[in-house]
């Protein structure tokens, strides 16, 4: 066996090589990230806008949805564990609409992400599923592409039906379940109901428009 320096030298050479390769790798990924950043941001915004425009046609509001978005603090009632973005649509001659991102944690196969659009009078403008892993052919019929079930929320509020009736018919409620899937619709119904509750509590903050002068709105 050679001098005690050999293993150390070998380790050093190995470490330096690895560090060099890692450096090149990080540099490459960072570079590509910088090159694609703008396009990625555009894509993300376009995707959100497309979802929103499904429920709320572009000519139904006057403002720039992206500019008028607000950050809200975490709200576990709608499954948001981190600060989240709410989009608002305003028009001069009609009710404002808040578009809330809602997460149901109790789907059959995990989380279901929704966008819930609620008008200023507390009635639902529309609901769309943006992400889920429910069973194809069964639970996935909460998607608008697969069935019209999700349209059953349009126009509903916490008075229509009353809070206790916000369940599937099987559980003594007003909403249809899906054939062969009960857990999935249960989760979505509960999430939409809780979105309405959250909206009631936070309505002033959610629909606050920036006043012409630079006054501050009180947060509730």
């Amino acid at each position: 066996m050679a001098s005690p320096n050999k293993p150390l030298k070998g380790a050093l050479v190995g470490a330096i090589t690895l560090a060099l390769v890692a450096g090149v790798g990080v540099g490459l990924v960072t570079g590509v990230r910088w090159l694609t950043a703008e396009r990625i941001a555009q894509n993300d915004e376009t995707a959100v806008m497309a979802r929103i425009n499904e429920m709320l046609p572009a000519d139904a509001y006057d403002n720039d949805l992206y500019q008028d978005r607000v950050q809200m603090p975490p709200a576990t009632i709608i499954g948001q564990d981190h600060p989240f973005t709410v989009y608002r649509a305003f028009r001069d001659d009609g009710p404002p609409v808040a578009i809330l991102p809602v997460t149901a944690n109790d789907g059959y196969h995990g989380k279901i992400h929704l966008l819930v659009a609620i008008r200023g009078d507390g009635h639902i403008q529309g609901v769309r599923v943006t992400y889920h892993r429910e069973t194809p052919g069964l639970g996935d019929r909460i998607e608008i592409a697969k069935s019209n079930w999700i349209l059953g929320f349009n126009g509903r509020s916490l008075q229509d039906p009353k809070f206790e009736r916000w369940r599937v018919k099987k559980d003594d409620g007003e909403f249809d379940q899906l054939t062969g899937a009960t857990i999935t619709p249960r989760a979505v119904i509960r999430a939409v109901r809780d979105a309405l509750v959250y909206f009631e509590r936070q309505r002033n903050t959610l629909l606050a428009q920036a006043p012409p002068d630079a006054g501050e709105e009180r947060n509730e």
Binding site: G10, G14, A15, T17, L18, V29, V32, R39, I40
Partner: protein, 231 residues
């Protein structure tokens, strides 16, 4: 492996990653719900595999043996990071559909396997050919499996082709059987396993046919002068 033709035959057929080596089964089963999904992940994997094989082959003499696995991982992870960003920017819908399976390409054993078994030992041109063959073989399996499962579960082929090929491909989808006649099992994981098993069996059967093309098997040893009469 000296002959390029050998390398190609090996990757595409004899040692096909999906049907023979049975590597990369997690993405193979999870994203082959449709032809387009399978094809997309296959192409992404092919790109990473080729980049990784070439990069590793180029610097193979400079990598100390003790750190070779971490170096391979860093190279593969870098390439996957680049692929994911490019997909997020230019193939947004497919990126959303494939979801977590794009970053999971890092864990695909085909890529690490070829890095260790081939790219770190052979010349760059051979490593590139090996990557194209292995990646091509893998993509072919993804494509066939995706087509099979899509057809059985939905009755269509090339659904959502425009997500990969652009607006001109919007009309490429064919509905071969009426909607609603599909077998749901094919869209679910058990159906994926069954379909893969059938493809592996099919490959074995084809191999057998290539060895014994006629139904009358030639006797291994000629025991008499008279030719065996066909039965």
């Amino acid at each position: 492996m000296n002959d390029y033709a050998d390398i190609v035959r090996n990757g595409l057929w004899q040692n096909n990653p999906g049907l023979v080596q049975l590597l990369g089964l997690c993405p193979l089963l999870a994203v082959t719900g449709t032809l387009i999904n399978g094809l997309t992940l296959g192409l992404a994997t092919l790109f990473v595999l080729t980049g990784s094989n070439v990069a590793i082959s180029v610097i193979r003499r400079a990598i100390p043996s003790a750190v070779r696995i971490p170096v391979f991982i860093v190279i593969i992870a870098t390439l996957v990071g680049v692929v994911e960003l490019v997909m997020h920017a230019y193939f947004y819908d497919l990126w959303g559909i494939l979801g977590i399976f794009v970053p999971l390409i890092v864990t695909n054993c085909v890529i690490m396997g070829r890095a260790e078994a081939f790219a770190s030992r052979w010349s760059t041109s051979r490593a590139a050919v090996d990557a194209l063959a292995m990646g091509g073989g893998f993509t072919a399996v993804l494509l066939v499996l995706g087509a099979l499962r899509e057809f059985i579960a939905q009755g269509t082929l090339l659904a959502d082709a425009d997500l990969l090929f652009g607006p001109i491909a919007a009309g490429w989808t064919v509905q071969l059987t009426p909607p609603g006649m599909g077998v749901l099992l094919a869209a679910l994981p058990p159906g994926a396993f069954i379909s893969l098993g059938l493809l592996v069996a099919l490959k074995h059967w084809i191999d057998k046919q290539l060895v014994q093309p006629s139904t009358d098997a030639q006797p291994a040893i000629q025991t008499t002068d008279t030719p065996a009469s066909p039965s």
